[in-house]
Subunit: 320 residues, 2 copies
C-alpha cells in the first residue's frame, strides 16, 4: 500500500487532458495496490483510477491485461474499463511509467465475507470464465506448475528459516504435483488472484471485480481452486465447508464443472496453496525490513496445503 511514483500536478493535468474526460478536479494517491501506484482522479465527467505500473509488472503484458478488461466489460462483466486517449490508446506513459486510466468501480471489499458472498464470488468467477471465451490474446501463467520449481530453487536454501522442515515439505509436494497435475482440463482466461480484496460488494450484492494483473490462460478449475483457498478458510486456518459449498455451488450453477474438473479439485487446491506458499515465502525472505509493503505470512498457505493433502474428493469441499 503505497505511492511509489509522485506525479506533478502539471504533468497529471496534461495527461488527463488527453483523455477527453473534462477538467481535472482532484487526484489523491491511494494506499491500496501492492504492485502499482494508484490515484483516485475526479474530473468534471466523473471518477477514475489512474495507475502507474511499477517495476514488478512487465510492460509487455499490459496490452493483455487492459485488452482483457475491455473484452470482459463488453461482455457485461463489472470490471474497470480502460479509457482510451485521443490517440485511441488505453496504454500510455506518465512520469516515466507505463500508465492507464480506468473507470472507477463503486463498492468495497469485505473484510469478513460470509457464505452468501462466497456463492456470489463463485458465480462471478464462472461468469468471468464464460465471458473470457473469444478473447484473442494469450498469456502463459508465469506462476503455474512449470514456474513453481524454478521459483522454489531461488530460495530453497533459506526455506527452513521460515519454518523448520518447510524445505522438505515443499520439495516432496512439488514432486507429487509435477507427477499428478491434470493436463487435459478445460482451458481459458483465468483471473488467478480473486482474493477478497479484489471483489467489491455494495450491501450484499457483488458490484465488481478488479486487479486483472495476474490474469492469464490456464485451467479454469484451477482458478476456482485459488478462490477456494482465498475465500473459504477462517483466520484460525479452519476450512469453512459452508463457504466451500457456497463457492463451488455458485460456480457450478453458471458453468457446470465436468467430472474431470471435480475429480481434479483436491489436486488443484494443493497446487493453488503451493503457488501462494511459494510466492509468499520468496517475498518473506526477500522483502527489505523497511519496505512500505509488509509481506504476507507464508505459513497461512502451508496450513492450507496441509488441509488439502488430507482431502480425497471434491465432496469434502462441499460439492455433492
Amino acid at each position: 500500500m503505497a505511492v511509489y511514483t509522485e506525479v506533478s500536478d502539471e504533468d497529471l493535468a496534461r495527461f488527463v487532458e488527453g483523455y477527453g474526460l473534462g477538467e481535472l478536479l482532484s487526484y489523491k494517491g491511494i494506499a491500496e495496490g501492492v504492485e502499482n501506484t494508484n490515484y483516485v482522479v475526479h474530473t468534471s465527467m466523473g471518477t477514475y483510477i489512474l495507475t502507474l505500473y511499477e517495476k514488478r509488472v512487465q510492460v509487455s503484458d499490459l496490452p493483455y491485461f487492459l485488452g482483457l478488461m475491455e473484452h470482459l466489460a463488453s461482455r457485461g462483466i463489472r470490471c474497470p474499463l480502460p479509457v482510451r486517449n485521443a490517440k485511441g490508446e488505453a496504454l500510455s506513459t506518465l512520469a516515466g511509467r507505463a500508465a492507464a486510466i480506468v473507470t472507477f468501480l463503486e463498492g468495497f471489499w469485505l473484510r469478513r465475507p460470509k457464505a452468501e458472498h462466497c456463492q456470489a464470488v463463485g458465480r462471478a468467477l464462472a461468469e468471468l470464465h464464460v465471458a473470457g471465451q473469444g478473447f484473442g490474446r494469450e498469456r502463459a501463467n508465469a506462476l503455474g506448475p512449470a514456474g513453481w520449481r524454478p521459483l522454489y530453487n531461488r530460495f530453497s536454501i533459506h526455506a527452513d528459516d521460515i519454518a523448520a522442515g518447510l524445505g522438505k515439505i515443499i520439495a516432496s509436494e512439488l514432486d507429487l504435483l509435477e507427477g499428478g497435475w491434470p493436463a487435459d482440463l478445460p482451458q481459458g482466461v483465468i483471473h488467478a488472484d480473486l482474493f477478497p480484496d479484489n471483489v467489491f460488494f455494495l450491501g450484499d450484492k457483488l458490484s465488481g471485480l478488479i486487479d486483472f494483473y495476474f490474469a492469464c490462460n490456464d485451467a479454469l478449475a484451477y482458478d476456482l481452486a485459488i478462490s477456494l483457498n482465498a475465500w473459504c478458510f477462517e483466520p484460525d486456518y479452519a476450512f469453512n465447508a459452508t463457504k466451500g459449498r457456497a463457492l463451488l455451488k455458485g460456480y457450478d450453477e453458471v458453468r457446470k464443472l465436468s467430472a474431470e474438473e471435480r475429480a481434479a479439485m483436491p489436486m488443484l487446491a494443493r497446487g493453488a496453496a503451493m503457488r501462494f506458499l511459494l510466492t509468499r515465502s520468496y517475498d518473506w525472505l526477500n522483502t527489505p525490513k523497511d519496505a512500505l509493503v509488509k509481506p504476507h505470512n507464508p505459513i497461512d498457505y502451508l496450513r492450507r496445503l496441509r488441509f488439502h493433502q488430507g482431502i480425497k474428493s471434491v465432496a469434502a469441499y462441499g460439492l455433492e
Copy 2:
C-alpha cells in the same frame, strides 16, 4: 503518507450510516496525511473525507480544530466542513480512534507554485485571519516561541549529528529570538502550517485550504512569516523576491499590515524558520528507519534561517 488504522467494512458502513449521508458506495485509504489516517468516502450523496486521528493529535484539541473549520466555513472560507452525525456531533469514534467526516474539497496542491499563486495564498491567509475573528475557542501555540527551547533540549546533544555546528547555531539563535520576540502584535486564529500541500487550486484559482491541525491563537503576522518560508524559497534555497512580494502584497490587500507587523517581519521569519528547523531536526533524529513516513530534511530550514539572519527590513522581502 499512510493508512495507520484499518477499518472493517461493517464498522465503516455503520459509522457512515449515522451521518445521514445516504448509502456508503466506496472508501479508499489515501496516501496523503502525515499525521492521521484519511479515507476518501463516496456515498450516494457525494464525496467526503473520513479522518481517524492518530496518536500525534491530542483528542482534547479536536473540538478546537473542528469548531474552527465550521466557524471559517460559515464565514465563507473554502475549507472542509465537518459533518455532524445524528447526535449532532462533529467528533466521534471509529475503530478505537477519534474520528470525523468532513466535506471533500476539489482541487489539488501545486508542486511548483508561481508568483501569482503566492499572491492568492497571501489573500487567502488574510481572509482566514479576518474570518477567524469571533471564533470563541482558544488554543495556545504549542510550537510557538515558548515551546522552542524545551523542544531543542530534547535533542540538543545529538544536534551536531545532523550537521556540524548546528547545535551552536540553534542555541545562539534561540537566545536572540527569546530576547527580541515582538510581544504586542495583533493576535488571532492562525493556520500555522499553510504549506503548498495544504492549499488547493483549480487551474490558477485557489479552491480551498485544508489541514487545520496546527491551528492556534498567536500573532497573525507570524502566520504570514511561516508562509513566507513555505512558499517563497526555491528548491536551491534561494529566496524568490517576486514570490515574496506577491505573497505579502496579496495579504496586505485584504488585511493591512501595521507598522509594527512590518517592522517585526524579519524577526518573525527567523522564528518561523526556527520552528520548522526544530521540529524537522527532532523528527530527523527520532524517526525509525523503517517508518512509513520519511522525515523532511531539517537543513532546508537552516538555509532559510541563514537567509533571514541577513535581512534588516520587510522591504528585502518585497513589501514597499
